[in-house]
Amino acid sequence: MIKLFKKLSAVICAGAIACSMLAFNTFAETKRCLVNDNAISSSDASEIEDILNKASDKQGIEFMALYINDSSMSDSQVSAIARSYVNKFTDGAVMINNAGTRYTYVAFSGKAKSKITDKETSKIVDNYVNKKFKNSDNVGAAEAFTKGVKRYMSLLNISPLVIAIGVGCFLVFFLITYFSVRAKYKFHEKPNTGAYLEGGDLNYEVMEDVFVSEHTSRTSISSSSSGGGGGGHSGGGGGHY
């Protein structure tokens, strides 16, 4: 019964994706900016096309933006569409926005996928793109998308936390080297007085060890189990605004 249910779900999902793809085929297509049913104005679309063309030339990544307005489409369907488009490119970056559900998803392939982490993808969606979509600024969102990708693709993209770790390591290495060398150069030789003790030992007149008392204590050993972490680099991420 469970096996049958799983098979049925897979068929339905595949069908949904196929329908979505079909739906996009009815879009008013431009090269990089695809629009479904006037989700955005044609002037916005034209501007976005320019922005994406320029960014693609500069960054060496194939940018694409898809705009839909379908409140019945689920987030997973939206993300499936984005992934299907981005996989067409060797080095791609695709943004899809569903105004109907106020959901944005970005997907990467190739070098963008290997360079940009999941956390950074979320930052692109939340801090760059959705901030513009909140204000209905579609053009601004596309520009922010290209800027976000540029920032996290940069070799000099070093977060403040990483810099802090670097500074911390600098201080640790510096201080250990400085003080350990200084300690080596300090004079701290002590003479061995035992060498002057006749016979090497004392003559003992009293040598007593008397047992006084004994006590025993116990402590419980707490068992700990570590939970496994999950997640992997999926090459995409999304969020609502």
Binding site: L161, V162, F170, F187, Y196, G199, H215, S217, S220, I221
Partner: protein, 357 residues
């Protein structure tokens, strides 16, 4: 002040003790003489002088004594120069003709050491050991390692007090034996407490403490041990060719150092008989019942180096060749090396942080 100068019977040059074979050597004609031989020749010469020039010598000596009086001035018998000596100097060199001289008054009576360990290493060995010792130290200033600095090393007889102490020690302590084991979900700890008592007597022989306020105590302690089997009856021959100091720190002033060492070592020896996981001393009483003293001289190759207004020292045991010293540190060089290492750490931190965060 009367001075002794041991002259070569062949050429009249000033004789110096050769540490290699313990003979008196003339650095000019390279003749060597046994010490007993030289003492005999010297005694004969002194006697002959007294007989023939007795009256003149007496008058000269009187004038000399008047001139020097209670001052530290001596007259070099080779070149006639008058040199001011330190209060504690017992043997030195004339600054003008480098003739070795022994200030015999500083080594007579109460100030006469009973024995000394003669130099058994040469200046060349001292320089070689010095260069081996500081050559490996990367942060020592270059000047310190230079041969011109090494050549300032001087052989000095340092005055030492040797103390024979009979000690009576008592320690009362609490000892604990701890045993742990695991059973089921519990860790058990068993502690057994013992009352520990020790009383012992012992004898420490020949604990050295330097009797010179000029010598760094810690440095002299670090040169130990000296081989006492090489102690010889004192003779001024041995001082010729080296510097020597008489003591200016009395036995009563060095006693606290001796006592501290005896106390520490006696307690350590007693504690070694207490085989417990932890020992807490409740009461201790270590008494030095009797101390016998001996005033001796020990050979030390010594050098002082000034760096940034602070004195640093090198010392080598003139008998065994053991080296020690207080090294100057080129802080500028150390800072830059540490900075470089820090930068490597910085890069590693950036790479590690970038990879794992």
């Amino acid at each position: 002040m009367p001075v002794l100068e041991y002259k070569c019977p062949n050429c009249g040059g000033g004789l110096e003790l050769n540490p290699v074979n313990q003979k008196m050597k003339c650095p000019f004609c390279l003749s060597e003489f046994e010490q007993a031989e030289i003492e005999k020749i010297f005694a004969e010469q002194e006697q002959a002088k007294f007989n023939t020039d007795g009256a003149e010598e007496e008058e000269k000596a009187r004038k000399d004594a008047e001139f020097s009086g209670s001052t530290n001035i001596y007259r070099c018998q080779s070149c006639g120069a008058e040199i001011m000596a330190d209060d504690t100097t017992a043997a030195t060199f004339c600054l003008y003709c480098h003739n070795p001289v022994v200030l015999s008054a500083r080594c007579s009576g109460e100030l006469r050491p009973s024995r000394l360990v003669p130099f058994m290493t040469t200046k060349e060995q001292a320089i070689s050991n010095y260069q081996a010792w500081c050559g490996k130290k990367w942060f020592v200033p270059k000047d310190f390692k230079a041969i011109t600095t090494a050549e300032k090393i001087s052989g000095v007889y340092i005055p030492f007090w040797l103390a024979d102490c009979s000690v009576d020690g008592m320690v009362h302590a609490e000892g604990k034996k701890i045993r742990t084991w695991t059973s089921g979900n519990y860790r058990y700890t068993e502690t057994r407490i013992y009352d520990v008592a020790r009383k012992a007597k012992g004898m420490f022989r020949g604990i050295p403490a330097d009797g010179s306020s000029k010598a760094e105590d810690g440095l002299m302690d670090a040169l130990e041990p000296f081989d006492y089997s090489q102690l010889k009856e004192f003779s001024m021959n041995y001082l010729s060719g080296f510097l020597a100091e008489k003591y200016d720190v009395d036995r009563k002033d060095v006693f606290p150092r001796i006592k501290a060492r005896v106390d520490e070592n006696t307690e350590a020896v007693i504690r070694n008989t207490m085989h417990y996981d932890s020992v807490r001393v409740l009461e201790k009483n270590i008494v030095i019942e009797k101390t016998d003293w001996e005033y001796v001289m020990m050979p030390v190759w010594f050098m002082t180096y000034k760096y940034l207004d602070q004195n640093y020292y090198f010392a080598m045991n003139g008998e065994t060749g053991k080296v020690t010293g207080i090294l100057p540190l080129a802080k500028g060089k150390l800072f830059w090396v540490s900075f470089l290492v820090g930068m490597i750490g910085f890069i590693l931190g950036i790479i590690g942080g970038g990879l794992f965060l």
